[in-house]
């Protein structure tokens, strides 16, 4: 019995029993079983929308640019999608590891219903391997390997609606990892007139992104560097697909977009490169897209780096403004003047923030009370 615990034993016995009853192999039983009760112990599962069935029960996933090819029983790099007998199923479905309420500013979204709350949902797993991952206990594990909750999309939407929370958010871990679950929640949320926002690394193929974005009101995209080699070294992902995703959100969806850039000292804090990135942002997604320069705190595999010096953040903000970006912020630094929202025309302070708390909000129907200029964003 060594090497097998009681749970494992019971699971194997039940598989054999089911196989014996139905006269088929255990692996061929999995998909049908999974649809009802979920694979690997999860409550229920769902087939991935974007994948291809290959010969010999192999599959190829088309959710993210990694296009993982899997043998039967193998799990994707994102840790959330597994080939069960030739069908690619998500292990994250109905299986969130975090359900909580948050201020919307925590995503960070500064131009989308400021001062409101979100019901935030996250599942284990991620298709990136960021060296500084701040939620690595959730993001760098498989959904079934951590404590999770049972929450169907209907229950998630009911919960938010019942409590008058206007927005459902997918954050903490990347919704690309649990896209199917997030999409089903978003569809139901749309029917209940709830807003949906997603904080993502945007390492995703355009087709699933466009499909998901039909139900998403706002995206926060974490752009992690502006050099492909550095991107690859820091996150395991590539820059080009993320640039494409940002352009896709801007040009092919109606979703509001904000960008967050974590300034990691000695990695991506080079101001000329940041200037170059801001020029690209201005050209590709527009100068009114809010950009947040977030302060790095020693974390995960970069625990020995110092925090980002505040003057470095200020230099990044100055560079972005110099380039012509109109809504530039610092994050993870409070108090700081650059956490406030100012009018894009007369620069009057419209929203004063201390951390995620709103101390004062002066916008009127999304307009500056001083000069009447409409401010970019979703205000009502």
């Amino acid at each position: 019995m060594s090497g097998i615990d009681r749970r494992e034993l019971l699971s194997r016995v039940s598989q054999l029993a089911a196989g014996a009853c139905l006269g088929g192999s255990v692996s061929s039983l999995w998909p049908a079983f999974a649809q009802a009760a979920g694979p690997a112990g999860s409550a229920a599962s769902r087939e991935v929308d974007f994948y291809e069935k290959l010969s010999d029960n192999r599959t190829k996933c088309f959710v993210c640019p990694l296009h993982c090819e899997l043998e039967d029983g193998e799990t994707c790099f994102c840790r959330t999608r597994t080939n069960y007998g030739g069908r690619l199923l998500t292990d994250a479905y109905n299986n969130p590891c975090i359900i909580t309420t948050d201020p919307i500013e925590k995503l960070p979204l500064n131009h989308f219903l400021p001062g409101t709350k979100t019901l935030t949902i996250a599942c284990g797993g991620c298709n990136m391997r960021c060296l500084y991952c701040q939620n690595w206990q959730q993001a760098q594990v498989c959904p079934n390997d951590i404590k999770t909750f049972q929450l169907t999309p209907q229950q998630a939407v009911d919960s938010a609606a019942k409590r008058g929370i206007p927005t459902i958010a997918f954050s903490y871990t990347d919704p690309v990892g649990f896209l199917e679950y997030a999409k089903d929640i978003a569809i139901l949320a749309r029917k209940r007139r709830l807003r949906v926002v997603a904080a993502t690394g945007a390492f995703v193929d355009p087709e699933p992104l466009i499909d998901f974005a039909r139900y998403v009101d706002a995206f926060v995209v974490a752009l992690k560097a502006f050099d492909d080699e550095l991107y690859h070294l820091m996150t395991g992902a590539r820059l080009e697909p993320i640039k494409t995703a940002l352009e896709t959100i801007k040009t092919k969806t109606k979703s509001w977009l904000e960008i967050v850039y974590l300034v990691v000292p000695t990695y991506n804090d080079d101001i000329p490169t940041i200037t170059k990135m801001c020029r690209w942002i201005r050209k590709a997604v527009g100068r009114q897209v809010p950009v947040h320069f977030a302060r790095f705190m020693p974390m995960y595999k970069l625990a020995k780096l110092p925090r980002t010096p505040v003057p470095t953040l200020e230099a990044a903000v100055a560079a972005a403004r110099e380039v012509g970006l109109q809504c530039v912020y610092t994050s993870n630094v409070a108090p700081h003047k650059d956490t406030n929202t100012c009018c894009i025309k007369c620069h009057a302070t419209l929203i004063q923030r201390l951390g995620f708390k709103l101390l004062d909000q002066r916008t009127r129907n999304g307009r500056c009370p001083e000069c009447g200029t409409p401010q970019p964003g979703v205000w009502t």
């Binding site: 694979p39 359900i99 925590k106 701040q134 070294l233």
Partner: protein, 509 residues
């Protein structure tokens, strides 16, 4: 016997004032002052001996702790000054030593308070009232103290002298402080101190025991390893470090820019010069004593007004949110989490202590809820001060009701609701309410308030701000990293994207 008293008492009077022993006052010794009889003195002796043992024991323990404490606090101060976060080792060591230091002081305070209760059984009400009378009357009645407090920037004392409501508020704040960190009161400070050894034994007509003599010697002269002068010097150094660290904690949390740092430093310098000038009094030949004091008092309102103006100037330089941070700041060795490492965008696990309590206690059988709530309330009182019976009963009811709600929820429901439940079950922050009350009084009387206290009257602030301004004028250039040598993120470049060690969604090993 009568002769002995008449000879001995004058020498005692000359030796010390019976209160602080340093102020040079020629008041009669404390026991004579309050009229302690020999029989009372004899009953006081064992209490006094216990107090001396406690104080000597505290001295020895603190002396043991002191070298490590200073070394660690200095390292902490240096990291605080660099403002690039704390190393785990230094932060943990500082927290541990600081905790030990507070625990030792709290334990001594608690024990002395118990002994004070014993003293109260020995002395009459009249004697206790006399003992509780401050040796020097408050600044309202004492122009010397008023001048000293303005010169020292102790505006709370100035406010309490001129405003009875302020005095009442400060009294309440002190009561909370005393509950959180018990310390000896006037009774302990005046009766249970080493300087009283001779006087007490004289009145009691008794010889001090060897034990008590040894304890008193330890208190007064220190141990062989740690003589008193060395201990006092280290204690002063610890005080300096504590003050400087606190100033750094505030300045780091404010994220001042160079212009702000320079302007505030200048204001603080000017305010210090003004206070010093006021303290010295008019430099007129022949003017001294009461005449000098009268001249100082005549200009006192103008000095206070000028200090108030300096405070306004500092407020003008700062943003509203920075002012808010200063108002909320309490002097500390370990910076509050909100300032040092606030919850970050996209950061999971930001639960408060109350949400954790509700989640954990909600899982207990309902029969255990009451005990859990009582334990929790005791912890709360450690932070917020002793609750009165009505409020405690109200909070108990509220928390028990909340736990009942929690118990009826499933895990998922609880995860969604717990932050709201915790928000609704938050206790009233009496300290903050009192602080706001006091600030209102400061403001209505145009007295320099909390901003002046932290930014103008803190004796470390000028140095700290000057250093920060200097740091900001030459920002730290971090060396460019050789990225090939550091950690590299995992990837699936070799087209082997499948997660190793898993089969059918489960780990294989």
């Amino acid at each position: 016997m009568a002769l002995a008293v008449s000879l001995a008492v004058p020498s005692l009077v000359m030796a010390h004032c019976g209160h602080c022993g340093r102020c040079g006052s020629k008041e009669p010794p404390v026991l004579m002052q309050i009229g302690v009889t020999p029989s009372q003195a004899r009953r006081l002796l064992p209490i006094f001996e216990n107090a001396m043992r406690l104080r000597a024991d505290h001295y020895r323990k603190m002396a043991e702790l002191m070298p490590a404490m200073l070394e660690t606090y200095e390292a902490f101060r240096a990291e605080d000054e660099r403002n690039q976060g704390f190393s785990k080792e230094v932060e943990q060591a500082t927290a541990r030593l600081h905790h030990q230091e507070i625990q030792l002081a709290d334990r001594l305070g608690q024990e002395l308070l118990k002994l004070e209760e014993e003293v109260k059984k020995v002395l009459s009400d009249r004697q206790l009232r006399a003992l509780a009378q401050p040796h020097r009357p408050g600044p309202g009645n004492n122009p010397h103290a008023m001048v000293g407090n303005i010169a020292g920037g102790n505006m709370t004392a100035v406010a309490t002298a001129v405003d009875s409501q302020a005095a009442e508020t400060v009294k309440k704040m002190r009561e909370i402080g005393q509950y959180r960190h018990p310390r000896a009161t006037q009774i302990g400070d005046r009766l249970l101190k080493a300087d009283l050894l001779d006087e007490l034994h004289f009145v009691a007509v008794a010889r001090p025991s060897k034990d008590v003599l040894k304890a008193v010697r330890t208190i007064k002269e220190g141990t062989r390893k740690f003589p008193r002068p060395k201990y006092d010097a280290l204690q002063r150094e610890r005080g300096r470090l504590g003050g400087e660290i606190s100033a750094w904690n505030l300045v780091n949390g404010l994220h001042l820019n160079k212009g702000q740092a320079v302007t505030i430093a200048r204001c603080a310098q000017a305010a210090a010069a003004l206070r010093e000038h006021f303290r010295k009094g008019p430099a007129v030949e022949g003017i001294c004593g009461e005449e000098k004091l009268a001249a100082q008092l005549a200009v006192a309102p103008a000095v206070v007004e000028d200090l108030y103006r300096f405070e306004r100037k500092v407020i003008d330089v700062l943003s509203d949110t920075q002012v808010q941070v200063i108002r909320d700041f309490k002097p500390c060795l370990l910076p509050p989490k909100d300032l040092d490492n606030p919850v970050r965008v996209g950061q999971a696990n930001d639960n408060t202590a109350l949400t954790r309590f509700l989640t954990q206690a909600g899982n207990l059988p309902s029969a255990q809820h009451a005990a859990a709530v009582d334990r929790w309330l005791s912890c709360e009182e450690k932070h917020h001060g002793k609750y009165d019976d009505d409020y405690r009963a109200h909070r108990r009811q509220l928390l028990l009701g909340t736990l009942d709600q929690v118990a009826q929820m499933d895990e998922t429901e609880l995860a969604v609701h717990v932050k709201d439940l915790a928000e609704r079950a938050q206790p009233v922050d009496v300290q903050t309410e009192l602080r706001f009350e006091l600030e209102g009084i400061f403001s209505s009387r145009q007295l320099p308030g909390p901003i002046a206290k932290s930014m103008l009257f803190d004796r470390h602030m000028v140095k700290v701000l000057a250093t920060r301004a200097d740091q900001l004028s030459r920002p730290v250039k971090l060396a460019k990293r050789d990225l090939t040598k550091g950690p590299q993120a995992e990837n699936c470049d070799n087209s082997k994207c499948a997660l190793p060690g898993r089969k059918n969604g489960k780990p294989t090993r």
